[in-house]
């Protein structure tokens, strides 16, 4: 059929689009749904379970039937409601969830088998034989289920996130929302007006009423013009407020570019977090349908939607339509369509005293009891006064009353309240604080009431914010109160759909009742009611009413149903905000990163950091070859490694020593100025947490280091101790991790190398600057630096710190100056090998499950002072723990040592009960010439020399290992002190 007259479409331009490969044309202002209707396409989808042929039932975001796969390739967007897909030139859409074509879907055989697929049937069968579930039944069910398909490609579009703040957020730009926004904006408040539609006006766009003496659309245009001129109001079209969160924070998605063929440099969508002091919920209402047999035929839709299509989009689903209503509102559709030249086959009004409000046949006290036309409605059965007759019509509009769109008001789990007059739930008073419902969303559905309540809600919000409201002059408008008669379904034999998409019928609800699945949550879960993409927007209240009929209880006694975020589906892309792929998390780069890159380093992710893992040289074919070279070069000459990532905390104040004494389990107060001490930090539960070094630079000044992984948590913990536990101490903290570049210089030539860069006047000879010494000094001709003589590798070693911006230059200088000394940069792999060779615990040993005793540091826990974790480290369970850190070496040097293997007494049966420990770290030691490991072994300290078994059943390995000291290199520490 051709377009009707009028409408808010731009007939001067045509837009070409395709649906299931057929090309059609529409106009700017159309949605995919209206454009399809204008092209006589009524069949748009298939239902989920029975694959019933379906058309539109709604004109807005509540649409459950007309779901399509929009676009193609990587931009494929499954389950898109045709009613909210704005038409653009070149749009392509495909129907989904079918095998074959939309009009001939092989899965429609499910409909023939529907008696077997009653509510909950799958809980009762497919149990035998057991193995068939995963192999046969479930795969078949999974293939048939689902709706649209993913492209399986990464989303090519960009997304954005933003934050907005306002005094008043107005949700919905219909009569109530516009009145609220106008009131608040004129009063000088900061206002955001958000509407999911691409055009402001809400329901006003679908009606023919006059506001004052002008058509509603003109009044809207006038308001819109004024609002656009106000600097304190922001209009956000195509923006769905999808969730109400705590403290006035609302989540919203703005579809910036979904109405364009391609975003063209814009983000496709933006996620807004709107912080609003107050909000007005003016989201309108959703019409109810009335279930009767075969009420899901394409062409049967909500009467209000039918009216919207006619008035806003100038289309009708058929030339001859009927209306089925229980209230006055249905008659409006008949009147409006008749005015557009559509033939009205009749208005079937369930109220016996109903009268025609226009020139059309009326069936007072009538009910529609059946419908025919599998792929498109052809006739309906009307029952009246005990007689029934079939009436020809191509479409049927149903009006069963309106449900306020109260979703956001229940996002804090406030329960909607039943209003007997309106025969619907209205928003609870205990909704999100600061949220005021108005207009149809609050059950005030006439245009006049909506305008009035919108303005009043804004005034209330302003008053709460101590702002004086400037009430606008509101136009005269219709103020009809449409009292629906309670009519929840038409009794009868056939299947009457309640939830269209999920194919839940009145019979299913009856069956749920019969099987005692009566609480509303049982009903939903047993039947899948309300779990489709529309989340029960068009089904839940009706289902509740049917159940209440069955139980004989009132509707509110039967239950209520609340909604959870999001209001409508939100793409995961926009929730992720574009922080994907390599942008998932920020990268922290060390001061020598670019230098290392220029040296061809391979990098590795270490928490947020990227660190040089190893520095391959030409000719090296395997990473192990490189690492072995770096280790040997360090142990033979001198190795250089960036250790900036270690956490650094500057601790100053008269009580700094006492403060650290309480933080570390070992003593720090007695540390001499100019010296460094290893420190072990426990959690308050007595488990080892972090280790590092404390350097005392002055009486009241320490610098402590933490592990890379715990830099943040340890600093937080230190501030907790300072502010919460010992606030009366004179101590100040600051994290200086990023302020200082720190470079380890290790190996027998380390001192000789450093002597070349340390400025004259500073003596770093072994005598003047012994093992564990520290000093502030200058290097390279005046650059301030800190030097620590500490060693992770077991060699004569130092760490030198300079302001971060000099890290790169220092590294270059060290490598260049030390060339003749064999200066070799090394990465985290060599670092790891050398610390295993030296028996130092690292992250794999400090895994949050090991006690100081297990680490062989039990005696470090001072009993002479109170320190964090000391008391709890002495608990019975920790004292009884016998596993100790040991070194492990294969009896046959060719055998592997694998971290994660479990340890057993040789020859013992292997089970959890006989488990004696595990290998925590392992690697190839070029120094030993074999793989070696560190591990925790029951009574390990007493078993040096014993041969045990490492079991790694994951890889089918059993390896004989000898228990040795964890110090594979220089066990007496001579090199450190040399």
């Amino acid at each position: 059929m051709t377009r009707l007259s009028g409408g808010l479409i731009d007939r001067s331009r045509s837009l070409s689009f395709t649906f299931d490969g057929r090309t059609f044309s529409g106009h700017p202002g159309d949605t995919l749904a209206s454009a399809l209707l204008a092209n006589n396409v009524r069949l748009m989808g298939r239902s989920f379970k029975y694959h019933r042929p379906r058309g539109l039932i709604a004109a807005g975001s509540e649409e459950p039937n007309a779901l399509v796969e929009l676009r193609s390739g990587a931009r494929l967007e499954p389950n898109t409601r045709a009613t909210v897909a704005e038409l653009y030139d070149g749009l392509s859409a495909r129907s989904q969830n079918r095998i074959g074509s939309l009009s001939f879907d092989l899965l429609a055989m499910n409909d023939l088998l529907s008696p077997f697929f009653a509510a909950g049937f799958y809980y009762k069968t497919f149990m035998w034989p057991r193995a068939f579930w995963e192999k046969l039944y479930e795969p078949a069910i999974r293939r048939a289920a689902g709706l649209g398909s993913l492209s399986m490609q990464a989303d090519p579009d960009a997304y954005d996130k933003g934050f907005l703040h306002c005094d008043l957020l107005v949700i919905g730009g219909g009569a109530a929302g516009l009145a609220a926004a106008l009131t608040a904006a004129r009063s000088g408040a900061q206002v955001i007006l958000a509407d999911e539609d691409f055009r402001l006006g809400g329901r006003l766009l679908a009606e023919t009423h006059l506001l004052g003496d002008e058509p509603a659309t003109e009044w809207v245009a006038g308001v819109e013009e004024e609002l656009a001129s106000l600097p304190n109001l922001r209009i956000m079209r195509r923006t769905t407020v999808f969730g109400a969160f705590d403290h006035g924070i609302y989540g919203a998605v703005e579809r910036v570019a979904d109405h364009l063929p391609e975003p063209g440099g814009k983000p496709r969508q933006t996620l807004w977090r709107i912080t609003a002091k107050r909000a007005v919920l003016a989201a309108g209402a959703i019409e109810r349908h009335i279930p009767f047999a075969n009420n899901d035929r394409p062409g049967i839709m909500l009467a209000g939607a039918m009216r919207a299509f006619a008035n806003r989009w100038a289309v009708s689903p058929a030339e001859r339509v009927a209306i089925f209503t229980n209230n006055d509102d249905g008659h409006r559709t008949a009147i409006d369509l008749a005015a557009k030249g559509i033939e009205i086959a009749g208005v079937i009004d369930s109220r016996t005293d109903a009268k025609a409000l226009g020139d059309y046949p009326i069936f007072a006290g009538g009910l529609v009891s059946n419908a025919k036309g599998r792929l498109g409605l052809t006739k309906i059965e009307v029952r009246q006064n005990g007689r029934s007759q079939w009436i020809d019509c191509g479409a049927l509009g149903i009006s069963g009353g309106w449900n306020p769109n109260l979703h956001l008001a229940s996002h804090h789990r406030g329960r909607p309240v039943w209003d007997e007059t309106l025969q619907s739930f209205v928003p609870a008073k205990d909704g999100p604080p600061g949220l005021i419902a108005a207009g149809a969303a609050n059950g005030q559905g006439s245009t006049a009431a909506a305008l009035r309540s919108g303005a009043e809600a804004a005034a209330q919000a302003l008053a709460e914010l101590d702002l004086k409201a400037m009430m606008p002059e509101l136009p005269q408008a219709e103020d009809a109160v449409s009292k629906p008669q309670a009519l929840w379904h038409v009794p009868g034999k056939g299947r009457a759909w309640v939830d269209f998409q999920n194919d839940v019928t009145v019979k299913d609800i009856k069956l749920a009742h019969q099987e005692n699945m009566r609480p509303v949550e049982h009903l939903k879960r047993w039947t899948t009611l309300g779990m489709a993409t529309d989340q029960g927007k068009t089904a839940n209240v009706t289902a509740l009413a049917v159940m209440s009929e069955l139980t004989g209880k009132s509707i509110p006694e039967t239950g209520t149903t609340i909604f959870r975020p999001p209001y409508t589906g939100v793409s995961l892309s926009v929730l992720g905000g574009g922080n994907t792929a390599e942008h998932f998390r920020p990268r922290r780069l060390t001061p020598t990163h670019h230098w290392a890159k220029s040296q061809g380093a391979v990098f590795v992710e270490v928490g947020p950091w990227m660190r040089a893992q190893y520095f391959p040289r030409p000719g090296e074919t395997h990473w192990r070859e490189t690492v072995d070279r770096e280790v040997l070069a360090t142990r033979k000459g001198v190795g250089i490694c960036d250790v900036t990532t270690l956490g650094k905390v500057d601790v100053q104040g008269a009580d700094a020593g006492e403060f650290l004494n309480r933080l570390y389990c070992n003593g720090m107060k007695t540390l001499k100025v100019g010296m460094v001490r290893y420190g072990l930090m426990l959690r308050e539960d007595g488990i080892a947490w972090d280790d590092g070094t404390c350097a005392r630079l002055a009486e009241d000044h320490y610098v402590v280091t933490t592990t890379t992984a715990q830099a943040g948590p340890v600093y937080r913990h230190m501030e907790f101790a300072r502010q919460c536990l010992w606030p009366d101490m004179d101590v100040q903290l600051i994290s200086t991790t990023d302020a200082w570049a720190q470079i380890a210089v290790a190996g027998p030539n380390a001192r000789r190398l450093l002597e070349r860069i340390v400025d004259e006047g500073f003596n770093i000879s072994n005598e003047a600057f012994p093992f564990m010494a520290c000093a502030s000094l200058t290097i390279c001709g005046g650059l301030r630096a800190r030097l620590f003589r500490i060693s992770f590798s077991g060699e004569l070693a130092y760490e030198v710190a300079v302001p971060a911006r000099f890290g790169h230059a220092l590294m270059q200088r060290l490598v260049k100056t030390g060339k003749d000394l064999g200066a070799t940069p090394y990465g985290t792999e060599a670092l790891g090998v050398m610390r295993i060779e030296k028996g130092h615990a690292a992250g794999n040993e400090l895994n949050g499950q090991t006690s100081p005793q297990m680490l062989g540091m039990g005696r470090m826990v001072s009993t002479k002072k109170d320190s964090i974790g000391a008391v709890m480290s002495r608990r019975e369970g920790l004292a009884a723990e016998t596993r100790r850190l040991v070194g492990l070496q294969p009896v046959d040097p060719a055998q592997p040592v694998v971290a994660g293997a479990h340890l057993f007494t040789e020859g013992a049966a292997q089970s959890m009960a006989t488990d004696q420990g595990w290998i925590s770290s392992a690697g190839y030691s070029p120094h030993i010439g074999a793989h070696i490991g560190l591990g925790f072994l029951a009574h390990g300290d007493e078993r040096i020399g014993e041969v045990i078994t490492a079991a790694n059943p994951l890889d089918g390995q059993q390896v004989a290992l000898r228990v040795v000291s964890a110090h594979f290199v220089d066990p007496d520490g001579g090199r450190l002190r040399d």
Partner: protein
Amino acid sequence: MLIPHPLLGLRDAQEFTYLGDARLIERPDGMAEGAEAAFADYVYLRDNPAGVHRELWFHEQGDRSWLVVTRDTVTHEILGAELARDVALRGKGGAA
């Protein structure tokens, strides 16, 4: 959520790191008699109220203050916030 920082005004809760029950301020004396029982209670047991809860938040992405926030665990309404240091000093009988 928004946290009313006593010095900085309303701040997004995402700037903070949560620790838990503000009773963690009242650390027992590790050298006292019966310290182990006192610590077992301190470290592990919680009132865990459904209702008003005093709790510690650290302004990690901000000024590094530890705050004691009073918040309703059922409604998430925040009833107040103060510097944990002030609370701790008050507990010790110091000036605050």
